[in-house]
């Protein structure tokens, strides 16, 4: 035990201070976890900007790290990165593996991380940056879904990223930061570019030819595979979602929208048949929880803007889906006491019809008024209302 403590000793003061400040900031202002932290990453910013073909305001947050990386190699990793700190301490847990990250320790022997970066950038060109979610800051903020995990069991999976990194770091100290982390590789490449501009062509671990090839393979993969890997089921996405392929690729699974949602209807998809959309957010309605008319927090919270930031007006115009009522099981049409979905609908989109020839009540959803907010789903005692993602996308 004392041995362990000794090895855990001698902390890097700047990183501890950063960790403390970060924790304080997040405690005072929770969006730090989900929105600010992943947005700092140039890897996420470049990947999502290329994939979405638009520069979002959030991606500007990555400029400082981008510039620092060019002039001061892996400054972020050495001084600031919370995942790096955690990984380093995990590496110290095992005996005989005391190691401190130095610029040299980041020397890539096996350029897995660069393959990840190039392939993802290639994927981004084809609209599907498929390994964007490996960003350490996204994994880190995903871990803070833990508070929601108690409420929604499936969220637990999206929390698992950081523990996996920790596990890898215990088994193979230093390997995460030096060989896997795509954010580290992005910084290396940025430094490389700067050096190349200054001093010709130093020996790169991944030659230009192979880099181009990797980008090409990534692009080809992204153009062909996502649709094949997508499950048959279409999912409801948070309001303001971009098209499905870009959404699944550009979403870094940071859990920011999950935490931002005041009613808890945003939950990660855990569907083994939908590989490309694994852990991407979907909407699940229950009880009194639905997509509120006066809320657009998920769009504000999304660091990669695959959930676009919509004004309340735009958000209420956005169609999430459309309510479908299975009339064969609807209590009202079975002459049982019900009809609560009608006053429940905040948009007056469910109307009652009366057929005088059969003297029976029918319930109808007005497609031009329904936006699929899901208010009617949770209240239906017969559980026969569903929101159909519809053909709008």
């Amino acid at each position: 035990m004392t041995e362990l403590l000794r090895r855990l000793g001698s902390p890097l003061p700047t990183r501890l201070a950063t960790g403390f400040l970060l924790g304080l900031a997040a405690w005072l202002w929770p969006p730090v976890w989900g929105l600010i932290l992943p947005a700092l990453s140039p890897y996420v910013a470049v990947g999502s900007t290329i994939a979405l073909r638009s520069v979002s305001l959030a991606s500007i947050a990555s400029v400082p790290m981008l510039l620092v990386a060019v002039f001061c190699r892996r400054f972020w990793c050495r001084r600031l990165c919370p995942v790096g700190l955690i990984s380093e301490y995990c590496g110290r847990v095992r005996a005989g593996s005391i190691q401190r990250n130095t610029p040299q320790s980041f020397a890539p022997a096996l350029p897995v991380s660069r393959v990840i970066v190039f392939a993802t950038l290639g994927g981004a060109l084809a609209g599907y940056p498929f390994l964007l979610w490996l960003d350490p800051l996204a994994l880190f903020s995903g871990a803070f879904n833990l508070s929601r995990a108690a409420v929604h069991g499936v969220t637990l999976l999206s929390v698992a990223g950081l523990p996996v990194v920790m596990f890898i770091s215990v088994l193979f100290p230093g390997i995460w930061c030096s060989r896997i982390c795509p954010l580290g590789a992005t910084q290396d490449l940025l430094a490389l570019v700067a050096r190349r501009l200054n001093a010709g062509f130093p020996g790169a671990a991944l030659p230009a030819r192979r880099a181009v090839l990797t980008v090409g393979v990534g692009a080809a993969f992204s153009a062909l595979v996502p649709k094949a890997w997508a499950g048959r089921q279409r999912y409801l996405r948070p309001p303001g979602n971009v098209d499905e392929t870009a959404f699944k690729g550009g979403c870094i699974r940071c859990g920011s929208c999950v935490r931002a949602c005041p009613t808890g209807i945003i939950q990660p998809v855990v569907d083994p048949s939908d590989v490309s959309g694994f852990l991407a957010p979907t909407l699940r309605f229950s009880g009194a929880d639905y997509c509120l008319q006066d809320c657009n927090r998920c769009g504000k919270a999304c660091p990669t803007k695959v959930i676009r930031q919509l004004s309340l007006e735009e958000k209420n115009r956005h169609v999430i889906g459309i309510a479908r009522i299975d009339l064969s099981k609807c209590l009202l049409t079975l002459e049982k006491e019900c009809g609560v979905c009608l006053p429940r609908c905040p948009r007056g989109a469910i109307v009652e019809g009366f057929a005088y020839d059969t003297y029976t009540v029918t319930v109808k959803v007005l497609p031009d008024k329904c936006n699929g907010c899901g208010a009617c789903v949770g209240i239906c005692p017969a559980k026969v209302v569903t929101i159909d993602p519809g053909s709008h996308r």
């Binding site: 009194a288 002459e335 006491e337 009366f354 003297y359 009540v361 209240i379």
Partner: protein, 451 residues
């Protein structure tokens, strides 16, 4: 002669001294015959006919005879009104219950809504009975009558009672509690003194009369009293149906029913073998509009007979027949009170606890969770000496769909009656009753206030 008649009339109604003024005319100037005899009976007082003045029909000012002065006046003898009368009488107050029809039960019996919904909620202990107290006592008494009720047993919920048994048991319970009963009298107006209700005016075969009271409970279902008293309320259009019962359902010849043919859903079980109860939703309408009611009554009846005719034409169903239709239309909602507290769906789903809880209930669309019913839902915002009970209490558009069921009507009825009695014994306005004493009284009467 006229003087004699008037004196007889006044004595008959035990009025003391009432002065008939202006152009009022006393009827019953002709002798009253009993077979070949002429008998001396009180006259019929109408306060004089309406007249035409400047082309408009006008009722001239006239005095209204006061039939009696009571402690708690309960208007409406439905499930809520009967509970209110019993609760107040058992709390030791003088109670008068006035009902427009000749029987008790209102929509439950005359309206033939036989299934008592929302009797239980789901709690940590499993299915928990929330309709307790006098309401459950009534349901239990129905089990003692052969063919009185089904599904009233441990582990069962939402029982269905027989309308005739319900009318009978309610009347017996009211008579045992020595409630002063007045049938065939239709409440038409409130008697106000400023913002306080002092009594209610009723219309009867013998013209109108008044009953004054210390506290009035509006159990009319439609909020007729608080509507007349000028209490703030919300109007609703809701579905109006005409329910019926089918007989000979046990004589459906299954051998003649074509194999694989879709079996029509007939209705739900009743205490009488071979008889089912058939609900009807009906079209939406204004339940306070007499033309709407008339049209719905006519259309509903035709629909019932056409449906049953179509049923009888199916092979095997020839013996099925219309046993009866409800003698009162199925009015779901017309007015809800603007009360001191408005129970809302969102509050119910959030599990809101009220300090002034007078009952606990729940419904399927509320996820069967326990919803607390606050006393404030029975108390008008401004009008005094008046409490609402039954389906016309305060609730938002969604909670109203729970409050209108028989289960909660039994709960709010008992609460209103107990509160009215307590207001009188503590010599305060109903809005000022001490909540802890009200809750203690309700618990003593067996009510369930959660935990």
């Amino acid at each position: 002669m006229a003087t004699n008649n008037r004196r007889d009339f006044l004595r008959g109604l035990a009025l003391g001294s009432a002065v008939v003024s202006g152009s009022s005319v006393l009827r019953a100037e002709e002798p009253i015959h009993l077979g070949s005899k002429v008998v001396d009976l009180p006259g019929v007082y109408h306060g004089g006919p309406a007249i035409i003045e400047n082309g408009k029909v006008v009722q001239p000012r006239h005095e209204i005879p006061v039939l009696s002065d009571t402690g708690v006046l309960v208007v409406g003898g439905g499930s809520a009104g009967v509970m209110a009368a019993l609760a107040a009488a058992r709390a030791g107050q003088k109670v008068t219950l006035v009902e427009r029809y000749g029987c008790f039960g209102g929509l439950w019996s005359a309206g033939m809504v036989l299934i008592v919904l929302a009797t239980h909620v789901k709690t940590a202990q499993g299915l928990t009975k929330c309709v307790r107290g006098i309401g459950d006592e009534l349901l239990e008494r129905l089990t003692k009558i052969k063919g009185g009720i089904v599904n009233q047993a441990p582990g069962k919920r939402n029982p269905t009672s027989d309308p005739e048994a319900t009318k009978y048991v309610m009347a017996e319970m009211l008579r045992e509690a020595q409630v002063e009963i007045l049938l065939h009298s239709w409440a038409t107006n409130a008697i106000m003194n400023g913002r306080s209700v002092r009594g209610v005016v009723f219309e009867s075969k013998a013209g109108c009369f008044a009953i004054t009271a210390k506290v009035v409970v509006d159990a009319t279902g439609d909020g007729d009293v608080y509507g007349a008293a000028g209490a703030e309320h919300v109007r609703h259009l809701h579905r109006i149906g005409l329910v019926h019962r089918l007989g000979n359902v046990d004589r459906i010849d299954q051998t003649k029913v074509a194999v694989g043919s879709k079996v029509p859903s007939l209705g739900s079980v009743t205490p009488i073998p071979g008889v089912v109860w058939v609900n009807m939703q009906g079209p939406q309408g204004d339940c306070l509009n007499v033309r709407t009611l008339t049209q719905t009554e006519l259309d509903g009846r035709r629909a019932v007979w056409q449906r049953v005719k179509a049923l009888q034409q199916r092979p095997g169903y020839e013996q099925v027949f219309v046993l009866d239709t409800a003698s009162q239309l199925g009015i779901r909602a017309s007015r809800t009170l603007k009360g001191l507290t408005e129970p809302t769906y969102n509050d119910a789903m959030a599990g809101k606890r009220y300090r002034d809880v007078v009952g606990v209930g729940g419904a399927d669309f509320l996820g069967e969770r326990s919803c607390w019913i606050p006393y404030g839902a029975l108390v008008p915002v401004k009008v005094d000496n008046l409490l609402a009970a039954g389906r016309c209490v305060a609730a938002d558009n969604l909670m109203m769909n729970y409050m209108r069921l028989i289960g909660p009507c039994l709960i709010t009825g008992q609460a209103a009656g107990a509160a009215a009695a307590l207001a009188i014994s503590s010599k305060c306005r109903p809005r000022d009753v001490e909540i802890s004493r009200l809750q203690a009284l309700l618990r003593k009467q067996g009510a369930y206030l959660g935990s």
